[in-house]
């Protein structure tokens, strides 16, 4: 009745299992290192980023940089974007950070500076060096702290989200202009009509819309894009004070009717079966691949979609942004003046060499190549001429640059606000949307009101913790015209 496990069979089994686990380990690795093979540079600096789809540009810049700087090699490590902030934090805890790194989005830059993570670069970033950037690029509380420069803007304000249109799907659905070109939607009704045509003409085989929400972020992009078009400047951003309506200095998910209207619109589309059914469980990369294969006709994403599609030779698409009820967007995308991209680590033993790489990345030429390769807009306006861009979809993106402008910046008005530490509020807008979309939240207005109250309470608590130098009124900019760039005046 019994059979014992012999030593030989156990060893055989163990060998097989070890092989399987080795394959597993190989599959599960998720960061990549790249070095310069055969480099005999005197100094090797370590550089971290989370640029996966932009890796081609970075690698080319490293190659050019090393050719121009014979004694310096750059060892790049591209970390998985989802965990970048944690990995940077752990690297500093273990006293082993890279020499130069892309600035993580968390913790806030002010805390990265106060924790002595970053090296002020004033020694090299002199006034003359700064003069190559557009005016107001170096702003206290954004990239300058206590008068010291830590990083600099790399990209110009740009529309962070676009509605991508699959030409093949649209043409199959008969959505074309008299000249045969694809009929691009501008209004919410246009989008609905296109969706209906795609679904009915394909007999339900092709979905109208699709997204990949497995990381619980991209469903909120739909709310963000549509609600801005309707005139809600906060969109649906999560993190820090993003997503606030600076006209009133509060979050307005529950009080601004546009949020409920857009969510109702999305649910109407969902109930009609217009969304790709697996959208909640696939990730953004999968959604990008499914769009490429024509499984759905429209998706929302950023310009980061384009390099991947170009690599696969998929170019038959267009993009629009900020579809709105009337066809004219009432709010735009807003960014702060100044900006951040890379910074030199305070622990670097090769600060001069790290600065050389910093300087290279911020050069006009590197920015020009960034635009030419279709990665995004450059901080240098002369690089952003759509006429100079040969690739049609990217030229469309460049032409949309006017839909992003500088918005109000509370930390310029009151630098005390750089001390603000806002507690996370959960469930956030991404969670609420997922709850509504999957039918777990029935009272949408109630959920939005509750979220708004919690976020505004968290802000009030955080402002109180800063002390008498800060006030809730610091966040309100009543004179803000949503369609124009805003210049925040210190103390005003």
């Amino acid at each position: 009745m019994s059979s014992s496990i012999s030593r030989r069979s156990l060893l055989r089994g163990a060998a097989a299992l070890a092989g399987a686990s080795a394959v597993g380990s190989a599959l599960s690795s998720c960061s990549s290192d790249s070095d310069n093979p055969g480099s005999k540079a005197a100094v090797t600096i370590t550089y971290w980023d989370w640029y996966a789809s932009q890796a081609g540009w970075v690698d080319n810049e490293i190659k050019l940089f090393q050719q121009a700087n014979n004694g310096i090699a750059v060892k790049k490590t591209t970390q998985v974007s989802d965990k970048y902030a944690d990995l940077v934090s752990l690297a500093y805890r273990s006293n082993n950070p890279p020499d130069i790194l892309m600035v993580p989005k968390n913790p806030p830059l002010t805390q990265q500076v106060s924790q002595d993570w970053l090296l002020p670069v004033d020694k090299w970033a002199t006034k003359s060096w700064q003069s190559r950037f557009p005016q107001n690029s170096f702003v206290e509380g954004v990239d300058v702290f206590d008068g010291k420069v830590y990083t600099a803007p790399f990209a110009a304000p740009a529309p962070s989200l676009q509605l991508y249109i699959h030409h093949g799907v649209f043409k199959d659905a008969g959505l074309t202009n008299p000249d045969g070109s694809v009929l691009l939607p501008k209004t919410w009704d246009d989008v609905s009509r296109a969706a209906e045509a795609i679904t009915s003409k394909s007999g339900g085989k092709v979905s109208a819309f699709g997204f990949g929400n497995s990381t619980n972020t991209s469903l909120a992009w739909w709310l963000d894009l549509f609600v801005r078009g309707a005139g809600s400047p906060g969109g649906a951003a999560v993190g820090g004070i993003d997503g606030m309506d600076y006209r009133v200095g509060k979050w307005t998910f529950g009080t601004d009717r546009n949020y409920l209207d857009v969510i109702n619109l999305l649910m109407e589309w969902k109930n009609k079966g217009w969304f790709y059914p697996n959208s909640m469980s696939i990730n953004d990369e999968q959604a990008r691949a499914f769009f490429e294969r024509g499984r759905f006709g429209m998706t929302i994403g950023g310009v980061w979609n384009q390099p991947e599609w170009t690599k696969h030779k998929f170019t038959d698409y267009s993009l629009v942004t900020l579809p709105s009820p009337s066809g004219t967007p009432k709010a735009l995308f807003y960014g702060p003046p100044g900006g951040k991209f890379v910074a030199v680590s305070s622990k670097s033993k090769h600060a001069d060499e790290a600065w050389a790489w910093f300087d290279w990345l911020y050069s006009r030429e590197a920015g020009k190549r960034w635009v030419e390769q279709g990665q995004g807009l450059s901080v240098y306006q002369e690089n952003n001429d759509p006429k100079g861009v040969t690739f049609a979809p990217f030229a469309q993106y460049v032409a949309l640059a006017g839909t992003a402008v500088v918005g109000p910046q509370p930390t310029i008005r009151n630098p005390e606000l750089t001390k603000l530490e806002l507690a996370a509020v959960k469930p956030d807008i991404n969670d609420v949307l997922a709850g509504v979309y999957t039918g777990q939240i029935k009272d949408v207005q109630g959920a939005l009101t509750s979220l708004t109250d919690k976020m505004n309470q968290a802000l009030a608590d955080a402002v109180k913790a800063v002390g008498a130098g800060a006030s809730l009124t610091d966040f309100a900019f009543a004179d803000w015209d949503l369609t124009k760039a805003y210049t925040t005046k210190p103390g005003a």
């Binding site: 009745m1 019994s2 059979s3 014992s4 496990i5 012999s6 069979s9 055989r12 089994g13 097989a16 299992l17 070890a18 399987a20 686990s21 597993g24 599959l27 599960s28 989370w50 974007s81 989802d82 965990k83 970048y84 902030a85 944690d86 989005k105 968390n106 913790p107 805390q111 106060s114 924790q115 929400n213 497995s214 990381t215 619980n216 972020t217 999560v238 993190g239 079966g273 059914p277 697996n278 959208s279 909640m280 469980s281 696939i282 999968q286 530490e421 806002l422 507690a423 996370a424 959960k426 469930p427 956030d428 991404n430 969670d431 997922a434 709850g435 979309y437 999957t438 777990q440 939240i441």
Partner: protein, 335 residues
């Protein structure tokens, strides 16, 4: 040991060995124990460094609001505990964890026992191969399994749906991992498959300790397979079985990686278990979805969960002990 000492001392030339003095005996015993401590030391160091110290350290963090950067300074007293106790998502996560354990443990144990009985059959050919095959998921990283299952479901989910729709078993397309009604079920199924190899091996080991003579005697007495299973296998496996149940329950309460990779606790916390809940508090959101982490809150949640598990374990031990006592009494009566 006494003999050896005597020979070394050069006193044991002939006759019965002289009894060692109490001091020598104590010294010898201490030497023996010393080696035991030496063997135990590496494990104890690891235990202290990676289990005991983090527990004590995290208890300190529970009194602070702290995002993990720098030293904690914002003392909030018991506020983190109050927040966790009042957080419906925490209780929901706890509920999911218990549901997971309540389904996985019994299903997995029954399956593992059944398969162990089959594999324990001496006449079964390629038994070693099957053992390896069933144990393979255990040594495969849960992260890899999660990624593969996620890809399978997202790429072939449409095909599965088409078949089910054609058979009129469903009336609309199902997003298997994106639908709150199905996502947890899939995690449970994968969880059963992933770790059931452990229990299979434990049961096999237990079965191999049962003397063959018992079965031979029972056969001579005319017992059938069912009777042998009921009156020999089950009672003889009881001691091993209790350990397997306890280990399986502890294992299921540690569920994390599978959920994190397959659904990350979503959609809208419908698959959130306590460990992913704690993880999300401790590490905030992603780079794209930058949410401030809160180590203090995560530590408070861990502490509360730890306490609940201790209470649960005590109840489990008391129940098992009382069952064993009752069985002992009834066996005594029968005897």
């Amino acid at each position: 040991m006494v003999m050896t000492t005597a020979v070394r001392d050069g006193t044991g030339t002939s006759g019965p060995p002289r009894a060692a003095s109490p001091t020598a005996r104590r010294r010898a015993r201490r030497r023996t124990y010393l080696w035991s401590y030496v063997y135990l030391a590496p494990m104890m160091v690891l235990l202290l460094a990676f289990i005991v110290y983090p527990i004590i350290a995290s208890l300190g963090y529970t009194f602070y609001r702290w995002n993990g950067i720098g030293d904690p300074s914002n003392f909030v007293g018991l506020d983190n505990f109050r927040q966790i106790v009042n957080d419906s998502i925490f209780w929901r996560s706890l509920g999911h964890t218990f549901v997971y354990a309540a389904v996985v443990v019994p299903v997995q144990l029954v399956l593992a026992l059944a398969l162990a009985l089959v594999l324990n059959n001496r006449r079964l050919r390629f038994a070693s191969f099957y053992r390896t095959l069933f144990f393979l998921p255990v040594v495969t990283s849960a992260a890899v399994i999660g990624v593969v299952i996620q890809l399978l479901v997202s790429n072939f989910g449409d095909s599965i749906n088409s078949v089910l729709l054609d058979l009129h078993l469903i009336d609309q397309h199902i997003d298997w991992l994106g639908d709150p009604n199905f996502a947890m079920a899939i995690i449970i199924l994968v969880g059963i498959w992933h770790t059931f190899g452990y229990n299979l091996v434990y049961f096999l080991a237990g079965l191999q300790t049962i003397p063959e003579e018992l079965y031979e005697a029972a056969r001579l007495d005319g017992a059938g397979r069912l009777a042998m299973f009921r009156y020999i296998t089950v009672p003889m496996l009881r001691a091993v079985g209790v350990v397997i149940v306890v280990l399986a329950v502890i294992g299921t309460f540690q569920i994390f990686d599978l959920v994190q990779v397959l659904t990350s606790g979503g959609p809208y916390f419908s698959t959130e278990v306590v460990n992913t809940y704690i993880y999300h508090l401790a590490f905030g959101g992603s780079n794209a979805n930058a949410v401030q982490p809160d180590i203090g809150l995560a530590s408070a949640a861990s502490f509360i969960y730890g306490l609940l598990l201790i209470v649960f374990s005590i109840v489990q031990v008391l129940v098992l002990r009382s069952l064993a006592k009752r069985r002992g009494t009834s066996t005594g009566r029968q005897g």
